[in-house]
């Protein structure tokens, strides 16, 4: 049942059009809520007055910060399974004193209809006194910069030192350097943020919300000063997450409104609101100096990274940690210096997005590899193979790679598949080929002491239920669990039903983030199933006198060399012998100690996924437009539980990466987001990308069930570098700023203002 390309159970409901997302639920008596948001990026709140708004017929309630029982939300580590450290980063649920970014919520308006909301929100009077703001991380670090938070604008720093970087540079035959910049990126899920909250018959505050983290029920409970046992979060199918639904979005607001009014309340963010106010991917500036020998062996990396944390910390410190740990890429580098910092500004906050800091650095380190290859006259594949990590190597931060690294095989696979580079389609066109390899962790940082629980049980008729808190955001999260259960318990897939995403009714499995769910909930389901299987086999063994080692569960029966007991009979045997026909297990991820600023740890992440991509592009030398002719992506996924799902993750992640490479940018000037709609924020359409040819390698060496590795995030890393390298191959000049617009391409051909900084030594 695993490694089978079966249609997913969730897909049928979605294709039939009957899947109900968070915004599809309507309850009798339901009210509607909307936020009044700050219109300046840096200001002091002088006056707030809802008198006029309250008089509008149909307005039911208007709340300010003072109306929130605990007006603070801790934002820096969503969905911890245990309390690991003092949480440091907070923000107000509704701002009362200061406003730090344009779009910050100030008031919550609740009304009978959406039509009333439009008028009511406009009628809430908010008077702001503009304060000096700072909108650039370098400026924010100056001594006289306006402070975004009282403790200063430096939010976090991570340093890595290994070996002797200066000696590495002194001994090198060649040094290449470059400065690379990445942009604000929006998750742009098709489903804007939405949720409905209501009080159930027991007074449990229930929130059905598009989320990646049902453990936020604790945060809501704290905000409402309610016991955690009285708050319930349900995650229905989510219309895309990608990290954007990892922090709370509508939860505290619908909860407050439902608690205040006693009625169900729905909140639906507009696309404009989502683009404006949802936290973004961190823009980063990365300066790399890479030293190598003439044979291509890298001797040293000197790396400097600055990220814009925006107005509130959210996950900025952790994102930067990922950048620092991944900064040297999938290569063995003996001498390393990484200096990185995340800085507050009055820009839109930045937080989690697929790749989580480990993907921006791919653009930098893979561009550097390409520069090196060109300088040395080496093939891009040869130089990567020369430096590739292998099992037993130690990452700069100090973690030893315990599983096999198939990086060279991924390079061979894409070269084999690609064949010759195509010819240009006309006289004013140029074709280039680019490579990029990456590593991306899967599983959460080990010092978060991550865990996931799952319950599995047989019904009297031999069908199976799995209960697991995992939110299903479209990556096949719940379908994988069904396949695992079917495999271990030897039942047909249609006999398995998965209930997921309910903090009251399903064992908690943690966040659907960090490419962790197959590792964590997959292993939890696997362990629950094996516990249950072993229990049943033991009971049947005793009953039949066969040794339990000789028995297997397969084809809806317990089968041995001389036995075949149909599963229904086996269940009767269990019940007669007081053997439970269900099991609950918790899978604990690897553990480690919390890290400090100067990073040195034997283990930071459970494990990593490695891959390589190839892009063939054609450049229109007159307009600068880039067409991706062909794209091949290869990753070692350990084991493909569902090959169709795996290919889908690789295809989808790669296209997001191509979007970041060529099209996507949220333009923020002086704290004002100028990109207010999908007609301006350009994500790839079907006509902008070719078929993503996926090659799946299965080393069997992952830490997930059946040796699987995580695959959700890894594919998003390489595309920007693969395409930039392909453009450099086509036209000579190299783009170093994302997105690679046609204008920037023309600059690479020497037809415009030179924008990218960097030299080849």
């Amino acid at each position: 049942m695993v490694r089978r390309d079966v249609p997913r159970h969730d897909a049928s409901e979605k294709i039939a059009g009957v899947a109900r997302f968070a915004g599809d639920l309507a309850l009798p008596g339901m009210l509607h809520a909307r936020l009044v948001r700050a219109q300046l990026p840096s200001a002091r709140i002088v006056r707030r007055d809802a008198t006029r708004a309250r008089e509008i017929p149909g307005v039911v309630a208007i709340l300010f910060g003072e109306d929130v029982p605990n007006n603070t939300v801790w934002v820096d580590v969503p969905g911890q399974m245990v309390e690991v450290s003092a949480l440091k980063a907070s923000m107000e649920v509704l701002a009362t004193g200061r406003v730090r970014f344009l779009g910050e919520p100030i008031a919550l308006v609740v009304a009978e209809t959406e039509d009333v909301l439009a008028e009511a929100c406009a009628a809430v009077e908010v008077e702001l006194e503009e304060l000096p703001g700072v909108f650039d991380p370098d400026e924010a670090l100056a001594d006289d910069a306006p402070t975004v938070h009282e403790d200063g604008n430096l939010l976090a720093e991570w340093n890595i030192d290994r070996g002797d970087v200066e000696r590495g540079f002194a001994e090198a035959d060649v040094v290449v350097e470059g400065e690379y910049r990445t942009q604000y990126v929006d998750h742009a899920y098709l489903e804007p943020e939405a949720g409905v909250a209501w009080l159930d018959d027991q007074g449990v505050l229930t929130i059905r919300v598009a989320t990646q983290v049902i453990e936020h029920y604790r945060d809501v409970a704290r905000i409402l000063a309610m016991p955690e046992s009285k708050v319930r979060v349900i995650a229905p199918y989510v219309g895309g997450g990608f990290g954007g639904k990892e922090d709370m979005t509508v939860e505290p607001y619908v909860a407050l409104a439902a608690a205040r009014t006693g009625r169900p309340v729905r909140m639906q963010w507009t696309r404009n609101e989502s683009l404006l106010a949802r936290a973004k991917r961190h823009p980063m500036r990365m300066r790399y100096r890479t030293a190598a020998r003439a044979d291509g062996t890298i001797l040293a990396q000197d790396i400097d990274i600055t990220s814009d944390a925006g107005a509130y910390a959210y996950l900025s410190a952790l994102v930067l940690l990922y950048s620092a740990v991944h900064a040297c890429g999938p290569y063995d580098v003996p001498n390393v210096r990484v200096r990185s910092r995340s800085v507050y500004t009055n820009n839109v906050p930045t937080s989690a997005m697929r790749g989580f800091g480990a993907m921006q650095v791919v653009f930098a380190y893979e561009s550097q590899m390409d520069r090196l290859a060109r300088r040395l006259g080496m093939s891009p594949v040869a130089i990567r193979k020369r430096n590739a990590l292998a099992r037993g190597d130690v990452l700069p931060v100090g973690q030893t790679l315990e599983t096999d690294v198939l990086l060279p095989q991924t390079l061979d696979a894409i070269v084999d598949r690609a064949g010759e580079k195509p010819s240009p389609s006309g006289p004013r066109r140029a074709v280039g080929r680019g490579f990029a390899s990456n590593l991306q962790s899967y599983g959460r940082l080990v010092w978060l002491n991550d865990s996931a629980a799952a319950w599995v049980g047989f019904h009297l008729d031999g069908s199976v239920t799995v209960r697991c808190g995992v939110p299903d955001i479209g990556g096949g999260q719940s379908a994988s669990l069904a396949q695992i259960a079917a495999e271990v318990l030897g039942v047909g897939l249609p006999r398995v039903t998965v209930h997921f995403g309910d903090s009251a009714l399903t064992p908690l499995a943690g966040t659907t983030t960090a490419t962790r769910q197959l590792l964590m909930s997959g292993n939890a389901v696997y362990e629950a199933c094996t516990t249950l299987r072993d229990r049943i086999l033991a009971a049947v063994a005793e009953e039949t006198g066969q040794p339990s080692e000789s028995l297997r569960m397969v084809d809806e029966a317990i089968v041995g060399p001389e036995t075949r007991v149909p599963v229904l009979d086996a269940l009767v045997i269990c019940r007669r012998r007081n053997v439970p026909t269900e099991a609950l297990e918790t899978f604990f991820g690897p553990r480690g100690r919390p890290v400090v600023r100067d990073l040195r740890a034997e283990r930071v992440f459970p494990d990593f996924t490695f891959g390589s991509h190839l892009a063939d592009v054609e450049v229109d030398l007159d307009t600068g437009q880039v067409k991706v002719l062909r794209y091949i992506a290869c990753h070692d996924v350990g084991r493909a539980i569902n090959p169709g799902s795996v290919a889908g993750q690789i295809s989808g992640g790669t296209v997001q990466g191509i979007g970041m490479a060529l099209l996507e940018e949220l333009v923020v000037r002086d704290g004002v987001n100028l990109t207010g709609g999908l007609f301006q924020y350009l994500i790839p359409t079907a006509a902008d990308v070719p078929d993503i040819e996926t090659v799946i390698l299965e080393s069997g060496e992952g830490m997930g069930p059946f040796g699987a590795r995580g695959i959700g995030e890894p594919p998003i890393g390489p595309p920007a570098a693969a395409i930039a390298n392909a453009i450099a191959d086509a036209v000579g000049g190299r783009p170093t700023t994302l997105p690679i617009t046609p204008e920037r391409v023309l600059a690479c051909i020497g037809l415009g203002v030179q924008e990218g900084r960097g030299s080849d030594g």
Partner: protein, 287 residues
């Protein structure tokens, strides 16, 4: 979502529509396909007190060929322009322009008149009308007046239409024998608003360009005819055109979040040359 409520009225005839608009004293908007107006309403950029639906007014749609020109009702949809055999045979430049507007859904509802009245300086149909030197008929329900395409826009998203006036029909010449057409645009993605678009009609034979009409969009507050470039190309062989046509004057492209003015200026020349080259090739009978 979160739109200030407004009234909806449906008009049966042009005269009826104009009277209703007049009655609202400038606070009502005419809606035809809704593909330009509704996004603006949904984004809160426009807050009318009422909309007057003119999509089904009597005699609003229709394409007729008479006397070497095509008369097109203002409520004719982009999809109709894309598919109607009269347009395909009679003025294929217009079919090409219409097929580039938005996507299939936009073209199913959006109308020629709606696009012209919206006056987006980078839009395809106003550009096509400009290069075709189209004639516009405007009605206020009581009388009519005619304008030429280049007179119609005043500036960005602003036209000659007064408060109670509507475009009733448009007349374009049919493509004559020995003439070819070209229509090219650069946008960030297929179906997006053009950054720059160029339209060309060329009278050419055996690789010699006799005469052309050229216009470009996205480089000013309206589509711009290029008489100087037309003159520079006249009499040239197709191979000489690149040498004869230098940087395009008479245009004032702006810099914005999508593109710089320098890039737009550069694109204008590139696209004019491409459109003209396509037009010459088609004049010679090739597709």
């Amino acid at each position: 979502m979160f739109v200030k409520p407004f009234a909806y009225e449906r008009a049966g005839t042009f005269a009826d529509a104009c009277e209703r608009l007049r009655a609202y004293g400038g606070e009502a908007k005419a809606v035809a396909g809704g593909q330009s107006l509704l996004p603006m309403i949904n984004l809160g950029l426009v807050e009318p007190r009422a909309v007057v639906d003119i999509s089904h007014v009597e005699g609003g749609r229709g394409i007729a060929l008479d006397d070497g020109s095509l008369r097109i009702g203002a409520l004719t949809r982009h999809l109709d322009l894309e598919r109607d055999p009269l347009i395909a045979r009679g003025q294929p430049l217009l079919r090409a322009a219409a097929s580039l507007v938005g996507n299939r859904r936009v073209r199913a509802l959006g109308t020629l008149g709606g696009s012209l009245a919206h006056a987006d300086p980078a839009a395809e149909l106003p550009l096509a009308m400009t290069v075709l030197d189209a004639e516009y008929c405007v009605t206020d329900g009581r009388s009519r007046r005619t304008l030429r395409a280049h007179e119609f826009p005043i500036t960005f998203f602003t036209t000659q239409l007064e408060e109670a006036e509507l475009l009733e029909w448009v007349r374009v010449p049919a493509l004559g024998p020995g003439w070819g057409w070209g229509f090219v645009e650069v946008s960030r993605r297929s179906g997006d608003f053009a950054i720059v678009a160029a339209a060309a009609l060329a009278h050419a034979r055996d690789g010699i360009l006799f005469e052309s009409r050229l216009a470009v969009a996205g480089v000013g507050d309206r589509p711009i005819r290029l008489p100087a470039v037309e003159a520079a190309g006249a009499g040239a062989s197709v191979d000489e055109l690149e040498g004869r046509i230098g940087p395009i004057e008479d245009i004032e492209p702006v810099s914005d979040g999508i593109a710089s003015s320098e890039y737009r200026r550069h694109l204008a020349r590139v696209l004019v040359l491409r459109a003209l080259s396509d037009a010459c090739r088609r004049a010679g009978g090739q597709t």
